[in-house]
Every structure is written in C-alpha cells, then in structure tokens.
Amino acid sequence: MSSLIEAKSLNTHYGESHILFDVNFKINPGESVGLLGRNGMGKSTLIRTLMGHVRPSSGQIKIRGDDHTRSAPHQVSRLGVAYVPEGRGIFPNLNVRENLLVAARPGVNERNDWSYDRVLETFPRLTERLGHGGQQLSGGEQQMLAIGRALMTNPDVLILDEATEGLAPLIIAEIWRIIGTIRETGVATLIVDRNYRKVLANTDRCVVLEKGVVVHEKQSAALIQQPELLTQYLGV
Amino acid sequence: TVKVGFMLPYSGAYGTIGQTIENAFKLYVEEQGGKLAGQDIQYFRVDDESNPSKGPDNANRLIKRDQVDVLVGSVHSGVAMALAKAAKDAGVTLIIPNAGADAITGPLCSKGVFRTSFSNWQPGYAMGPVAIDKGYKTAVTITWNYAAGQESTDGFKEAFEEKGGKVIRHLTVPFPTVEFQPLLTEIASIKPDVVYAFFAGSGAVKFVQDYAGANLAANIPLLGSGFLTDGTLEAQGASADGLLTTLHYADNLNTPRDNAFRASFSKRYPSNPIDVYAMQGYDAAQLLDAGLKAVGGDIKKRDQMHEAMSNAVVDSPRGQFKLSAAGNPIQDIYLRQVKNGKNEIVKVAVEKLADPARGCKL
C-alpha cells in the first residue's frame, strides 16, 4: 500500500538558516504518527513544509503517490490533509459559526463524516459562543474551534500542532478521546504535543527530531520502553 | 532670439485649453513668418497641471532653468497668481492668456504683467444691464465657493443692483462638488426672476444639464458668464440650447478680422476647436509682437517694451482693444445665445468695459 504522505530527503531553509536536514518522513493511511522534539527543533517547520507553506530547498513530497513538492497549501488540503496550526490561526473577524462553516466541505471520495452539527456536539462549549467573534474567545475555546474547523474539511490526515495547548484537563482528555475516535474512523493523524506520554500512548509510530535531523523513528510502544532516549532528546 | 515659455495645463481637465492656447500663439508667429520683430522665437513649455501648489516651482523651471524672456500662462487663477509673483520677482514679462483672477490686475498689478483675456469681474458685470433690460427684478447667483466664482457673481451683483435689481440669495457649492440638486431645489423654492451662474469645465456641463433636467429653465431663466457654455457645448447637448451668456468673444462675430483668424486657425489645426481660448492665445502673441516691434526686437529694453505693450492697440479677432493701466483689456463684452451648438452673438452687452482694477496703484 502506498503512503498517504511521503517526504524524501527534505531540506528546508528560512532565508539563510538551514532548518531541516535530509528528513525522510511518511504517513500511511489510517496510521497515527507522533512527532517529538524539544522547542525549536523543526517540528512545525516539517509540518509547514509538508503543507506547502514553506517550499523545501531540496527533496520531494509525495501525496497519495503523486508528486506535490511544489503544490500550494490549498491543493494539499484538498487531498484530504487538515492542519491545526500552533497558535490556532482563528479568523478573528469571523464569528464562531463562520469560522466553522468557511471550512466546510466534503473530503476526498465525498466522505462526509463531520457535519457542522457533529462538530458542535463534540465541542458543546462552542455552541454557546456561535455568535462571538473569533477574537473574543478564550484561549481554550479558540483551540477547540481550530480543531473543529479542521474536522469540517473531512480529512484523511489530521495534523495537530500543539493542539492541546491551553486546554483544561477535562477537555484535553476529551481531545485525546476524540483523536482516538478519529483514528478509529480510519483517519490518519500526525501529532505534535508537549505531553509526550499521551503522544506515545496515542500513536502507532513516533519520529524524534533533533536540530532538524530525524534521530529516531520507532514504534511508539517500543519507544516508551526507552526512557533514556526520551531523556536525551526531550529532556525529561 | 526671444525665448517664450508656456506654462499651461497640458494634462487634466484643462489640458485641451492649454494646447489650444499654445497652438494659437504659434499660429500668429507663423503668420509673421516665424519671427516677431525680426527675432526668432524659441519655445519652452511646462505642464502646470493646474496645480497652484506646484506653481512657483513650475514657474522656476521656465525662468531659471530655461531662462525665458517672456512667460505665457496660465489657465488656472491660482497658478497665474504664483506665476505673477515669480515673474515680478525675476523681472520677466508675463502675458496671461486666460486666468481671470481680479487681483492680478488689481491689488497685485505690476508693470510687466499683462492679460489678453478678461477679469472675472468683466463678464459678470456685463450681464447686469442685460438682466435689467429683460425686466428681471430679483436674481439668485450661484457658483462654486472659490475666488473666481465669487468675483464673477460680485460683478453681476454690482451692475444688477446699481440699476435697481436685487440679488436675493447668493448660493455656493463647495469646490469642486458637482452635486447641484439641493441648490436647484432651493432655487425652485425661492422663485427669483432669474439665475446668474458661474461655472466652468465639468461643473458647467453638469450644472447646465441638471438645470435643464429639473426643467427650471421654463420658469426661471438661466444667465451665466460665458464659460458656462464655452468649450462645453458638445457635452451639454440640447440642455444648453437658448442659454444667454456674456463674454468678450462669440462664435459668429463675422468680422473680417475674426473670419480670417478662424480660417487660418482651422486650416493649421483642423482637429482643434476654435474658441475663446484660441483667440486669447493668439492675442497674447499679438501683444508680444507689438512690444517687440517697439524696441526693434531688443528684449533687453524691457521697460520700453512694457510701455509699448500697455499702449498697444491689439487688433484682436474679438475686435480691437487696448489695455487698461493695470494691464487688463478694455473690451466689448458680447451677449451670446446658444444656437445649434454655437455661442451666437445677440448684441454687445457693454461697450469698452474696463475692469475697475480696485487696489491697483499703477
């Protein structure tokens, strides 16, 4: 079976500074991948490169087997890749309802699991805020909105960059549960989160980045058994 | 050689006027065989963009960079003010082929500054007796809230009230607004015997159209300074038919001098309309010619040349005229009526009308 997303020897620069070094990376359909690493190691940069926001200086990105190294983010998104960025990216001048509806569309193969109502059911807190501007939401509410909005595109891969930042423990638990549900429906996930234990527990495979280099790639279950690695690369 | 600098608008709303004036000036020089008083004429030109705030700088281009001997300009009053100041300071001769600001040949008059056109006061004043003759007792004046409009309507008011009429309201529109509907409604509610208007260019077109569109003309006749219908008739179309205006020129004077001028101009510049601006530009050249002839082409003898210019009798297509002491033409003002897309002469409204040149110490 071919990978959903596959990146081969990616190199990415921001201007003069070299951030990613020959990164190889892939996500298979339905698979859940965790991305671990300290602050500033290039996790978000890798994601942004995959999404097409940053153009790699060399390397190749394949999505569903086709070359998409130079595709624009909207083309990537239309292939079923949804992205919850760090910092949330809520549209401040749209209200909650609009923030959700603006993203609504059926996924690849007309997949239509996530309706507006279902998203609201998942995040009941948002129901009370439908008319509020994105700017006025509390931090946690914004985070829920960002995830809900990504789901509105009915993706096959959900990329969550620090998606639980600023959420209450109950909600975080809920989000992990939802991620579980999403996984069960066959949606692949790529997860960056500071809570590495949760990441390890909720993913099939984990990739560890250190200064833009992939230093480890292991089944999550195996990695959990190696606390010394975690100490070395995550400082815990 | 004599260096002549045109500071005229070549772009924007007055762009055509500037070109016309230049063409007519050159036409006269060509008719004289390309020389005035035996001197070659070298031309320089600067687009003044009708922008008074650039006036001084543009004047400097001609005076200091090109070092012209004679300045010809401009159309816009504010620009002409700047030009007059610069010319005075530099001791260069200035011939104004259009701008009508009263002040230039009033308080700010000066020896080397001449005008071959008119002062705003003149056509306005001349309309006063016309309105009285027609039996109008009350009038409303309307114009943009700016100096030229004020001067023109003041002239009208002066003459109209001298003869027993009464201007009951003076209406103004902020310059350069062209939304006239509220004031037309106001006029309809005041119901004067007659309306005197001063507008030019696009404002004139729009005002005349709106006045006709409101059907006011049937009950309250519209009179205006000539610029209401000069250069604008094509755009105004039928709405201008029958309008009476006063100006120092008309389209069918039918004098030998005028016919010769018109024939010559339309032969040389077939696509350029012949209008009052062409005539004024032509006369600017004639005035300069008179001055140069008196000093035998020696532009250095400026004082003598100025003397000769102020005493010259210009054989203008509009009819002969002399300049007043302040440098403004003493000229017949015609009453014209719009017929078949032309400003046709009805009669002479006031003969040999001189601007009072209030405040001029010359």
């Binding site: 926001h53 624009a72 983010p73 909207h74 998104s77 239309r78 949804a82 992205y83 960025p85 990216g89 549209f91 401040p92 001048n93 749209l94 209200n95 609009e98 509806l101 603006v102 993203a103 501007g133 700017q135 909005r149 595109t153 | 772009s11 924007g12 709303a13 007055y14 762009g15 055509t16 809230n145 209406l171 103004t172 529109v173 902020p174 607004t177 062209v178 939304e179 509907q181 509220p182 004031l183 037309l184 409604t185 106001e186 309809a188 509610s189 119901k191 260019g201 696009s202 077109v205 729009k206 159209q209 569109g213 409101a214 059907n215 006011l216 250069g231 094509e234 755009a235 105004q236 179309g237």
Partner: protein, 293 residues
C-alpha cells in the same frame, strides 16, 4: 423651508446617498473586505464612465444594443481588467507592508489618467441617457425630477441588496474576510485564496465601473473625475466601519443628508461638514458605525 421643499430635499439626499453607496460599493469589497488600500478605485470609476462614453457608438454599431447593453459590456470588460490587474499588480503585495499598496495604487492612478488622456482626450463629454429613461416627473410647482435619477437609485438599491446577500448569505463573504485576515490559514483549509481574491477584486472593479457607467449620463465624463470621488469613497467605507456593507450604506445615506442640508443651511462650511461628521463619529465610535467581527 416649506414642507414640499423639505421633502424634495430629502429625496435629493437619499438619491445622492444611494449614488455614493454605489460608487463606494466596489471599494467596500476591495478595501473593506479584502483589506487592500486601493487608491486607484477612483480610476476604475473613471474607466467605467469613459467606457460608457466611448463604447456606446461601437456597441450600437456592432451589437445593436443601447445603453443597457453598453453598461453590461463595460461591466464585463472592467471585470476582465480587474482580473488582470490583480494578477499583474496586486497579487504580490498581500504579504507586504500595507503602505506599499498605497504607493503602487498611486502609480496606477497616474498611469490610468495619462492613458485616458492619450486614448480619449482631455475634454468634457456628455453621455446621453437612454430614450426610455429620459422622461421626468413633476415635483413641487416649478421643478421636475429626471426619471433617470430614479433609475440610478434603483440600480443602487439592487447593488446594495446583492452585496448584502453575497457577503452575509453566501460562504463567499466569509472566505474573503477570512482570507483578508489570514491568507495562510484559509489556504490550509483548501481554499484557493489567490484565485478567490482575483475574482473578488474583479468584482470590485466591475462595481466601480458600473457606478461610473451608470453615473455618466448625469455626471458627464471629464478628466480627474476619478480623483474627485476617491476620498469620499474612503470616507463612506470608514464611517460605516470597515468591512460592513450595512455600515457603508448607512454612512452613504448620512453623507447624503449632511451634504444636501449642509449646502442649504450652512453654505459657508458645507465643504467641511462631511469631515466634521466623520471626525465626530470616529471620536465616539473609533471603529466606525458597524465594526465587523
């Protein structure tokens, strides 16, 4: 002022307000919603008016249509022009400092004005209203009111309703607003924001041209007509609250009334009244009457 005059003045005010809204409507899209400080909006208005003037004989000759056909042709051509301009000039400015837009659109104004003068000329021209709209209705005892002005008002209202529907009842409005605040994010959601902006920009230009073409018979076409409206357009959008169609509509109406009654009641300060009003409104509502979001 007697009652009839007063009512007629109100009609004038409404009519003027509607016209202002029509002229500003394209700017509401381009500036208010897409967030581009487009000084060249007046030029698009001017282009519309001049197209109506220049194309009328051509349309009559080749398409056999009258005024309405001409206006439609103008709209289509303007939309194409807008599409091209966005692609060629505006598209690379989104990620830059907004001030760059100011400078570039200033350059465009100069270019358009000069091209206008080269292609047409510097004269004032009239455009005739279609025969079937050239009638008038009696108002008061002396005055009549041209039917064509009522027609303009009708067009303005249709445009207002259309824009309101487009922006608050369709997803398009959300997408544009979202794109204006965060292009990267809207892109991540699978929306081709470049294409979308290009289309909306074209629509904005088309609206400006429509305003110019429709207004041409009453305003005539003349050099500098674009620059004469640009400031008032920004005033309309800003007083209304950037991005709000409803706000722009109400602002245009307010200006219509202030201007109309200002000219009659306070002629000496009429020119500045609109600005006094704007300053006052913004002092009490620093983000306009109806701020979006």
């Amino acid at each position: 002022m007697d009652v009839t005059t007063y009512l007629i003045q109100c009609l004038n005010a409404v009519q003027y307000g509607l016209l202002l809204f029509l002229v500003a409507s394209g700017l509401t899209l381009i500036f208010g919603i897409m967030g581009i400080i487009n000084l060249a909006h007046g030029s698009f208005y001017m282009i519309g008016a001049y197209m109506a003037f220049a194309l009328q004989p051509l349309v009559a000759q080749y398409l056999g249509g009258g005024f309405i056909t001409t206006v439609l042709v103008c709209i289509v051509l303007a939309a194409l022009l807008g599409y091209f301009l966005e692609w060629a000039f505006y598209s690379y400015l989104y990620t830059r400092d907004h001030l760059q837009q100011v400078l570039m659109t200033y350059g465009l104004i100069l270019v358009f004005e000069e091209l206008r003068s080269i292609i047409i000329d510097n004269d004032v021209h009239g455009v005739s209203a279609p025969e079937w709209l050239s009638g008038s209705i009696q108002l008061g005892d002396l005055m009549t009111y041209p039917t064509y002005r009522l027609f303009i008002s009708a067009v303005c209202i249709i445009v207002a309703v259309f824009m309101y529907w487009l922006l608050s009842r369709t997803r398009l409005g959300m997408m544009i607003r979202a794109g204006a605040s965060n292009r990267e994010m809207i892109n991540s959601l699978g929306i081709d924001i470049n294409q979308l902006f290009r289309v909306v920009f074209a629509l904005g230009v088309a609206l400006a041209a429509l305003a110019g073409a429709i207004a041409a018979p009453v305003s005539s076409v003349y050099p500098g007509m674009g620059n004469a409206v640009i400031i008032i357009c920004f005033v309309v959008v800003v007083i209304g609250g950037i991005g709000s169609i409803k706000g722009a509509f109400i602002a245009a109406m307010l200006i219509g009334f202030v201007d109309t009654f200002g000219q009659i009641l306070f002629p000496q300060v009429a020119g500045v009244l609109v600005y006094i009003m704007m300053a006052t409104i913004l002092l009490f509502k620093p983000e306009g009457l109806f701020k979006q979001g």
